[in-house]
């Protein structure tokens, strides 16, 4: 193994040792002193994320004012990989809404991330959206909760485009703070193609690449304009993020990565063709 890789593994191992040796005592001993415990856990999560980023030789340039903890505010960002979350988390301990993963990642999610506040969703469940919408609303009402970070695309995208934003984050009656993330592809392609490789392989690939270089822009908070629907609001914010990060907007639904389009799309095409044929028939 080259020196470089050994260094990264050591950095990550040291990070984990420090983290676990501090987190476990803090979590168990300070059970009664919630405010202090939460504050320390937040710092520790930010710390382990910094170690993660260092282990990939992450060079992250943050632009814009650092997010503040205010109630009735959510953060939305474009999504390329799970590492987006780690990169943002090293600056501010966000609460996040995520798909529960199997394996060691799932274990990490349920133990450590629970401390910063996390909401789980399940793409495959039909009724899931309503349950999640309610959990989101409850979270943003609380004054003590960490600021919520949402990836409205609903799935990882290749950092060249943005796909349609799901409107859930935009109908909570909160200020929406857009965050744009753009990875520099020269160093590594940070896109996690979850259909082609597992998260573990993806992390290993990042750790053996030159560096992860990216820009993060914290953009001006937006509120729902009078007469604007949640969908229009979502599109407006997607526009802001896409322009800032130099991404192309496409009108596709991110969930099409996982399922076929419904037959009604094909039927609509058949219907419009049938109508034009019938029109010609009538004209005779």
């Amino acid at each position: 193994m080259s020196n470089d890789r050994i260094r990264r593994v050591i950095v990550l191992t040291i990070g984990w040792i420090i983290f676990l040796s501090s987190f476990i005592p803090v979590h168990s001993l300070l059970k009664g002193h919630d405010k202090l415990r939460k504050k320390l856990e937040r710092c520790l999560v930010e710390l382990i994320c910094s170690f993660f980023v260092a282990s990939w030789t992450g060079v992250v340039k943050y632009h814009g004012p650092r997010p503040s903890m205010r109630p009735k505010q959510v953060f939305v960002a474009n999504h390329t990989s799970m590492i987006d979350f780690i990169i943002l988390e090293q600056m501010t301990a966000f609460a996040v809404i995520m798909q529960k993963h199997p394996g060691w990642v799932g274990l990490l999610q349920s133990t450590i991330l629970e401390s910063v506040g996390c909401i789980w969703f399940n793409r495959s469940e039909a009724k899931d959206r309503e349950i999640v919408a309610r959990k989101l609303r409850d979270h943003v009402q609380g004054t003590d909760n960490n600021p919520l970070l949402i990836f409205p695309e609903g799935t990882c995208v290749n950092n060249h485009y943005t796909v349609m934003f799901k409107k859930g984050a935009f109908e909570l009656g909160c200020t929406v703070c857009p965050v744009a993330i753009k990875y520099n592809k020269i160093f590594v392609d940070a896109f996690w193609n979850s259909r082609k490789q597992s998260f573990t392989m993806h992390l290993l690939q990042l750790m053996t690449s030159w560096a992860v270089v990216c820009d993060v822009w914290y953009l001006e908070p937006q509120t729902l304009r009078p007469g604007e629907t949640a969908i229009e609001f979502a599109e407006r914010v997607r526009d802001i993020i896409s322009v800032r990060a130099g991404l192309k907007k496409v009108p596709w639904d991110g969930y099409l990565k996982y399922s076929r389009p419904s037959p009604k799309h094909r039927e609509r095409k058949q219907q419009s063709f049938a109508e034009s044929v019938l029109r010609r028939l009538d004209e005779k």
């Binding site: 799309h265 039927e267 058949q270 219907q271 063709f273 049938a274």
Partner: protein, 169 residues
Amino acid sequence: MLTQYDIEEVQQHCNHAFSQQEIVSLYERFCQLDRNNGGFISAEEFLSVPEFAVNPLSQRLLRMVDGLNFKEFVAFLSAFSPHATLHQKIEFIFKVYDSDGNGKVTFTDMLDVLRDLTGTFISEKQREQVLTDVLDEAGYTKDSLMILSDFVKILGNSGLKIEVEVPVD
């Protein structure tokens, strides 16, 4: 990985319909779609492209394109190149209609395509009426057996445009 020799062979096979850069881009896309690395794109893998799945002619196209290796895939797509002649494009359309590949398109073949295109939004009777009228206008009857030159005669002056731009990095 494609070698220079591979690219030239593919180019030869599709009659230089695509440039070498375009063939490289097409290969990248081919490999992306061929998830299980079988050397060909299966019907399932094609249907994972949303625009393809919502196309009413998808089943017909699948029959033509299922199991093609990369060289054959590029040859199949050559009708869509801006360098392809009108004749080549009409030949492609003919092949879509001629589902049994016997070089002849019957009234029933055309009715089948029209059914795919219109679904349940128009009755079978209306479909037959439309087709009879169209054939009549072009000087054919219900019993005519169309061959490629008939299609060329009918579509030759139509200003047909089926072109696709292959994105090159």
